[in-house]
Amino acid sequence: MYNKTIAEISAGLQKRDFSSEEITQAYLSRIKQHDEQLNCFISITEEFALAAAKNADQRLAKGESGGLIGVPIAHKDIFCTRDVKTSCASKMLDNFYAPYDATVVEQMNQAGCVMLGKLNMDEFAMGSSNETSFYGPVRNPWDQGCVPGGSSGGSAAAVSARLIPAATGTDTGGSIRQPAAFCGVTGLKPTYGRVSRYGMIAFASSLDQGGPLTRTAQDAAIMLQAMAGFDTRDSTSVDHPVDDYVSTLNRSLDGLKIGLPKEYFDDRLDTDIRRCVDEAIHEFTKLGAHVREVSLPNINLSVPVYYVVASAECSANLSRFDGVRYGYRCENPFDLDDLYSRSRGEAFGAEVKRRILMGTYALSTGYYDAYYLKAQKVRRLISEDFRQVFADVDILAAPTAPSTAFPIGAKTNDPISMYLSDIYTIAVNLAGIPAVSLPVGCVNNKPVGMQLIGNFFSEERLLNAAHQYQSVTDWHMRLPQGFE
């Protein structure tokens, strides 16, 4: 049962092959069986799930036919879920039970999804390996000595190990795509403003975007259909009609123009990764696509721009965690400053502290122009590069990560090296454009992912291309050993 896609589960539920309650139980047992090792879940909401499943079964009995009714999923623990612990993998929110549902959660509940629990992540979404979580690292199902990627590590690993058919994640600099690549699953970061950020605990407001992690592009389309939409509670939400992502999956790729940014395919690219990506590109040409080289001249500045902008925004976004109205409070504070400094000092992990300090510095008197303002200007240059390129091609293809999953602990003492694992994903967030990562190979039995990147609101096209690729290849169907 657990090796089904959303599409298959939905079909099975409609045909009454099984009930939502049954499939929910099946996944709950599987989680109990495997999650001790992998540590994908921060909370498992068994009662909640069974109640939702019962409800879904009633809806199905009435003849409702939505593609997500009764389908088990889990949310990255960055989405507020009413009356359910929402921790952002931080000691700061270890005791926090959200008093409201994020818009994404509301929408998925309305669509009939059954939430099984909240997924592990890097603390406050800051990280690329899921090693900064207060609840311990997540292990990659493909090689449990390795990281699953981050920050949506729990989401990617859980889908990869078939503990759930699908999960939500968030992507600020690659946090959906990179773990998707490391875990051999499909992960989509939508256009900025496509998915509401209301209730999605903020890391870097102008970069954050919620999206699905699934096994297939088709499933990602089904998930995105429910996640997307204009929200009046989010000023940055875009009032753009939601496309039908599902019915256009099978369109032919004949004539599709794919650009390969030469800056991403230089000699820094690992040869094995390159081989997998080249093979995938070859498949696309077989499907009728035309490939050509393009250039994104300012792309190499993405990482420094990101680390200024994201740090600056997060330094302010995390100021609300002060031990006054919710969250962690230190014992016996002797005055106000002590309350703040010690609560925050004791409850934030090292990476979070580093970024807050960095952001504080970038915005401080004397440095604002040189750092923040400068970074936002270079950001525009990067964004322009993409705009220009999309005048000539329909989508871009690129590697997702510079390596396969690295061992747990390998980069924890070298933050810069950790940051550089985002070099292929970051620019997309800076420009606010959508991208999907799909599995395209394996190196030393560890998955390799490739990105398809599109212009604003081109999710339809990206999912279509990914789906067509997945109908002639089977990388997305492979299971990690031990999880068959």
Partner: protein, 477 residues
């Protein structure tokens, strides 16, 4: 050494919207603690701000009323600092690009008209309140006020005396109430003023170091605090000291300013554009709409009153100080159908006196313009005398009844019938032979005595004009 005072004022006017600037919680005053602080106001994880259109509308109204540039694009910025009444750890304000740019306001101080330049006015959210009543040595935080829209109005340091500062503050106070964007209630904290005060030797171009005085919630305190601060600074400088740039609090009990006990004198607010909000665009069409709907402004109304009602500058000023007062006056005049001066006297005299005695606002007056107009009609048509009218006024104030009813019920109609008056005069003259003799031998002052006697005999109802007309010839014989 001749010193010159330099003052700039920063006024925070709480905008009278129904809901908060970035959330849908109520802004109603006086609610039980934390019952009007929603998720957004509390800065819960994951919440986001959405801008209230009425706050923008109100800011634009103000900008147009002070002849200012309205920014076609303005930006909200985060002002970062930590304080328990600031839930997010930053205040959403405006920094480099405020919604209202440079404008000006003309004030009258020391009988001179002066133009005060206004640097800018911007929108921001208010913080909550700290209550220092003892909770076992702790402070209690109420966040009901957090998120209430504020318009921060910043003047240039153009004022040169406490009088000018107060005149400016009063003018702004009047203006925001005229525009119906702020109720101006200083006790409730909806109109707050900070003063930046410095001194410099007369003739010097550079400004001296300034001190910022906070916690000024009445016109009187502003004047006293500024004067005290100027004295303090001059004393300090004259004795060889230097003025420190700092924030001081005014203590009305001791009539002194003292430094605020904050560890960091200069806060690094690390302003940057708020990424949760988009640039606010204000289109020319919207400006036209708002301009068309602007009410008559205080200065315009004052000028009109001078023209239309032939009032003096002073009288017109007093009557147009608030919109309510001006509306009251005009209703009185239109009810009466003229006699602008009479109305002015009564409104500024008897009415204002009665209101002040009971500490009431003109809105709360038990006698409205219609009723007052009705009373004054009876003076004009000589039904009652001016003196009796005051009696009637007092009765109207107590009972809320109309003048005519009271005049009727109490039989206060003036006696104008010359026959009746003559009879009474004759009787009085007959009863007072001694005084008559004294009058006739030159004691003219005794006229008043006889008038008084006639009035007494008629319970004040005799028409004084008539009495005089008939009495004098009879006295003279």
């Amino acid at each position: 050494m001749q010193w010159e005072t330099v003052i700039g004022l920063e006024i925070h006017a709480q905008l009278a919207t129904k809901s908060k600037i970035f959330s849908g919680a109520s802004t109603a005053y006086g609610a039980i603690a934390n019952t009007q602080a929603c998720a957004v106001d509390l800065g819960l994880p994951g919440v986001l701000p959405v801008l209230n259109q009425e706050a923008v509308h109100m800011a634009v109204k103000f900008g147009l009323a002070i002849d200012a540039e309205i920014a076609p694009v303005s930006v909200f910025a985060r002002k970062n600092y930590f304080y328990p009444d600031l839930p997010k750890g930053y205040q959403i304000s405006q920094f480099e690009l405020p919604v209202v740019g440079c404008g000006h306001l003309d004030i009258v101080a020391n009988d001179q008209v002066k133009r005060v330049a206004i640097t800018r006015a911007h929108l921001e959210e208010d913080a909550g309140k700290s209550l220092h009543e003892d909770f076992q040595g702790l402070s209690g935080i109420d966040l009901n006020r957090a998120g209430t829209p504020l318009l921060e109005i910043v003047s240039e340091p153009d004022m040169r005396s406490a009088e000018e500062a107060v005149a400016y503050m009063r003018k702004i106070h009047s203006l925001v109430r005229y525009l119906e964007i702020c109720d101006g209630n200083m006790q409730e904290g909806s109109f707050r003023c900070d003063a930046n005060v410095s001194v410099r030797p007369k003739g010097q171009k550079e400004f001296g170091t300034r001190a910022e005085i906070k916690n000024l919630n009445s016109f009187r305190f502003v004047e006293k605090a500024i004067n005290h601060e100027v004295d303090r600074q001059i004393d300090l400088l004259e004795s060889g000291g230097t003025v420190v740039q700092e924030t001081r609090l005014y203590d009305s009990n001791s009539d002194q300013t003292r430094p605020m006990r904050s560890k960091e004198e200069s806060n690094d607010y690390r302003y940057f554009p708020d990424p949760d909000l988009l640039p606010l665009e204000i289109e020319p069409g919207f400006l036209v709409e708002v301009r068309d709907q602007l009410p008559e402004l205080p200065d315009q109304k004052c000028d009109r009153f001078i023209q239309q009602y032939a009032l003096t500058d002073d009288d017109a000023s007093v009557l147009t100080a608030t919109r309510e007062m001006a509306d009251y006056y005009e209703l009185t005049v239109s009810t009466l159908g003229g006699e602008a001066k009479l109305c002015a006297n009564w409104v500024m005299g008897d009415l204002a006196g009665a209101l002040n005695k009971m500490n009431l606002d003109v809105k709360q007056s038990p006698i409205d313009g219609l009723l007052l107009g009705g009373l004054l009609k009876r003076i004009v048509d000589k039904t009652i005398s001016g003196k009796i009218a005051k009696q009637v006024f007092d009765e109207m104030w107590q009972t809320g009844a109309a003048a005519d009813k009271i005049i009727e019920d109490k039989g206060l109609k003036q006696i104008t019938d010359s026959g009746a008056i003559e009879q009474i005069i004759d009787r009085i003259i007959a009863d007072n032979p001694v005084q008559l003799e004294q009058y006739r031998s030159g004691k003219d002052k005794l006229l008043g005595y006889f008038v008084g006697q006639v009035m007494k005999a008629t319970q004040g109802k005799a028409n004084p004009g008539e009495v005089n007309k008939l009495l004098i010839p009879k006295l003279k014989g």
